[in-house]
């Protein structure tokens, strides 16, 4: 694979954490080897933003619960 394997590995990890449906995850897994670096970086940025956003919400929601505990 000519593209940086580290980039692919990061995307694969984010794919597992994303809220997309399993069919779409399967599609992206198959498309990753065909994508150029520019599109891989865009995909990674989008997935990272999504995963971080969901995680931030979770942590925000967790804080009041921790205070009440």
């Amino acid at each position: 694979m000519a593209v940086d394997q580290k980039l692919i590995r990061e995307i694969v990890n984010y794919l597992q954490l994303s809220t997309m449906e399993s069919k779409e995850k399967a599609m992206w897994m198959l498309l990753l080897p065909q994508m150029d670096e520019e599109k891989l970086l865009k995909l990674k940025a989008s997935l990272e933003k999504e995963v971080n956003g969901i995680t931030d919400l979770y942590l925000q929601a967790l804080n009041p619960q921790q205070q009440n505990a």
Binding site: K23, M27, M29, Q34, L43, L57, Q60
Partner: protein, 230 residues
């Protein structure tokens, strides 16, 4: 062979493709987790869970929808807001590489030459249409428009739909020799022109694939139509 067909064929020889195939098709029948329903893992289930447990379902849904829109732009390409120029997405690359005849249908640089090549070897186009119909199994519904738009916007596809729609009316066309008049499709005959082109950009991609699957049932006739009447 279709794009996804080639990937899975490669899995037979092992290597990275085998790993991908296992990752995508999931665990073997021995793994009990495969049969276990998991509401929280579905995209709808997790928002409901977040809404019920921590009251943040709406914000989570907004994040999900924004990400979905960004991914559609990566898949299908996007327009440059400054000059209106469309930049090809991931699917454009797949089309150019695995569906060269289909890509040529929309070739504006040398349309006559492209059509001539397709008419000389109609089976290339027919095999690619077959592969495309198979590949759509792995493409989510919200991305199907990016797959069908490059086909629906071409003159060749419009002529195909028009030709098959005419059915028996085509028998009255004087310039078609009697031997080449195509019979009506029977119970499958529907007004495809109205369904696909009557709604402008709001057509249903499933109608396009339904039409393709019907005409691909008789490849000999389709070969005649492509080589003589497109």
């Amino acid at each position: 062979m279709s794009f996804f067909g080639e990937v899975f064929a490669g899995a037979a020889t092992g290597g990275a493709a085998e790993v991908l195939k296992k990752a995508i098709l999931g665990p073997t029948k021995k793994a009990p987790e495969a049969a276990k329903p998991d509401d929280a893992s579905s995209s709808t289930g997790i928002f409901e869970w977040l809404k019920q447990k921590v009251g943040i379902g709406d914000k989570a849904r907004e994040i999900h929808e924004t990400a979905k829109k960004e991914r559609s732009q990566i898949f299908g390409g996007e327009k440059n807001p400054e000059n209106g120029e469309k930049k090809g997405g991931v699917w454009a690359g797949i089309m150019a590489r695995y569906y060269p005849s289909l890509s040529k249908l929309g070739d504006l640089r040398n349309p006559l030459e492209s059509i001539k090549k397709i008419k000389e070897n109609p089976m290339n186009l027919i095999d690619e249409l077959d592969g495309l119909c198979a590949d759509t199994i792995l493409i989510p519904d919200f991305l199907l428009k990016f797959v069908t738009d490059p086909l629906v916007e071409t003159d060749v596809f419009k002529k195909l739909v028009d030709f098959y729609d005419k059915g028996f009316a085509g028998l009255l066309t004087p310039n078609i020799p009697l031997l080449h008049r195509i019979p009506v499709l029977g119970p499958e005959k529907q007004n495809w022109s109205e369904k696909i082109f009557g709604k402008g950009k709001n057509y249903d991609p499933d109608d396009v694939f339904s039409f393709l699957r019907i005409i691909l049932k008789d490849k000999d006739t389709l070969k005649e139509v492509v080589s003589k009447f497109i």
